[in-house]
Amino acid sequence: MNLRRDVFQAIADPTRRSILLLLAAQSMTAGAIAANFDTARPTISKHIQILTECNLLHQEQSGREIYYHFNPKKMKEIAEWLMPFAKMWDDRFNKLETVMKKYKSKK
C-alpha cells in the first residue's frame, strides 16, 4: 500500500528535514547523504524516496551516479516558506535600528 505523499508529510520527519537542509546547499548522491547520518543506509534511502515522491527532491543522472537536488519550487507549496526569510531580515533591521539609536545618543 502506498499512501498518497504530500509535502507536509515529508517535512514532518526530522531526518527528512535534515536531508532537505543538506541538499539546500548542494546536490549529493544517496551515499553522500547517508554518510551524514548514523541511521542504516536503507532507512535513509527510504527517506530520500519519500522526499522524491513528493517532488521535494529531483534526481539527476551524472555518469553512473544519481545526484539529488533540492526543489525549492515544491517547498513553496508550504504557505509559510517565505516567512523565515522575512523574519531574518526583520530581525536584522530591528538590530540596525537599535545599534543606530545607541550610536546617535552617544554622539
Binding site: 528535514r17 532537505l20 519550487k73 538590530k95 546617535k104
Partner: protein, 155 residues
C-alpha cells in the same frame, strides 16, 4: 510584534524587493551601511574590508562560537551616492548560489524617519527560490535541534 519588513517575491521572477521603514534619519540609516564597526554590529558578521565608494569592494566573514568560519561573502560597489543609493554585487564564497546584484535605495521620509528598498536580482529563478527557501530549511532544522536538546535534557 508585527513584522515591519515587506518582502515582494513574485512567482517565476528572478528578483526580490525588500522594503522597510526606520525610526532613523536617512543619514543614520545610510551610515549603518558604510561604517564597518556599525555594520558589524547589526549584520553579526566581521568586516574584513569595506571601501564605501564607487568602484570599491567589500568582504565579510562570519565566524561561529567555536571560531570556525561559517561563510565568507564579497562584492564590488558599483555606485554609491551618500544618503540615496548603493548599487553592489553580493556573492557567498564556496557556495553554489551565484552572484546577485543589489540596488539599495535610501529615502528620507521625515527628519527622523526613512525608508530602505533593496532590489536583489539573482542569476536565475531557481537560484532565487533556493536562497529564499534557505532560512526556511535552516529554521525547520533548528527547531528540530532545539527539540532534540529538550528531549536529551529529559533523559
Amino acid at each position: 510584534m508585527a513584522q515591519k519588513t515587506k518582502i515582494d517575491a513574485e512567482d517565476g521572477k528572478q528578483e526580490v524587493q525588500i522594503e522597510r521603514e526606520f525610526d532613523l534619519s536617512v543619514e543614520l540609516l545610510f551610515k549603518a551601511y558604510i561604517v564597518p564597526v556599525l555594520l558589524e554590529q547589526w549584520m553579526g558578521t566581521k568586516v574584513l574590508k569595506l571601501e564605501s565608494k564607487k568602484h570599491g569592494s567589500y568582504r565579510f566573514e562570519t565566524i561561529d562560537n567555536n571560531g570556525n568560519v561559517v561563510f565568507n561573502a564579497n562584492g564590488v560597489i558599483h555606485e554609491l551616492i551618500p544618503n540615496h543609493k548603493i548599487i553592489r554585487t553580493f556573492e557567498m564564497e564556496n557556495a553554489p548560489f551565484g552572484v546577485q546584484l543589489e540596488i539599495l535605495k535610501f529615502e528620507k521620509l521625515t527628519d527622523h524617519t526613512s525608508k530602505l528598498n533593496i532590489h536583489s536580482i539573482y542569476e536565475s529563478v531557481a537560484l532565487r527560490d533556493q536562497l529564499l527557501a534557505l532560512p526556511f530549511a535552516q529554521g525547520i532544522n533548528m527547531a528540530h535541534n532545539r527539540l532534540q536538546d529538550v528531549l536529551s535534557n529529559l533523559k
